[in-house]
Symmetry: C2
DNA sequence: TAATGCAGGTACCTTTTTGAAACTATTGAT
DNA sequence: ATCAATAGTTTCAAAAAGGTACCTGCATTA
């Protein structure tokens, strides 16, 4: 996580990356945007490679950032639900466009594997 | 950088984060989107906190990912220009929406500093 | 009485990332 | 002969991030 230089006007990109810059945060936010409400274990199953520790940690940071809401039910075994806060919902367009681009980029990757490795015109050296 | 599990269909988010997930990449891409063409030193000045090493490394990775084009002029002292490739340009909407959200989020942060620290309604414990 | 399910917490360790500082190459200007 | 300018690279060390394995609490169920 980037440290916020307190009392200095930070650029918008920094402000965004400060709260989104964990290894799993965008995944978590994406799934919450898609499913609305998810329990801890459901998120864990949706993101198989995340460890319990990391999932808990990233969720806590997202909660502290005001993007995710944590609702604890007073029952045993425990039940905790996560959802986007109103402010978290404002991320949906960003998440959508990122996801869309990822889709596009993945297509591009797949396409490049089959084309012959010709030198792209952009690699040529320019002489002034 | 996340490792791409070769020959396994990766989700779009992973595909995107694989190439965008460096500490400085989004900054670099943003500035290139904004300015069109930038030399190494210009980028360095635009992002004061990045070190030479990191800037060079992230640029190299962006180039390898096909998002950034590197043009070397055969002159001394060296002159190298960076710009977005066509594929890199497809990121512009993503960068724009991220930047816009960052702007919004920064406003929110500023607003919270002055409001009294009341317990948000979302913090209440639910009982089923 | 013991095991089960859920949502974590924690200590310890390894890996990855990042930073600081010095070094390189080349040529024209002083 | 030396310096300046640009775009890096290299080495070593520090810091951050991440993973593993194990621990907790407690009502319910077998």
């Amino acid at each position: 996580m980037m440290v916020k230089p307190k009392n200095s006007p930070i650029c918008p990109i920094t402000a965004a990356l400060d709260v989104l810059g964990g290894k799993w945060k965008v995944f978590i936010l994406s799934y919450l945007a898609e499913h609305g409400t998810l329990r801890f274990g459901e998120l864990k199953r949706l993101i198989p490679k995340v460890t319990q520790k990391m999932l808990a940690q990233q969720l806590k940071e997202l909660e502290e950032a005001g993007l995710v809401n944590r609702r604890v039910y007073a029952q045993v075994p425990p039940k905790v639900e996560y959802r986007l806060t109103a402010h978290g919902q404002t991320l949906c367009p960003v998440l959508r466009s990122l996801r869309e681009w990822g889709y596009l980029h993945r297509e591009k990757l797949g396409a490049e594997e089959v084309t012959c490795p010709e030198v792209s015109a952009e690699k040529l050296i320019a002489v002034e």
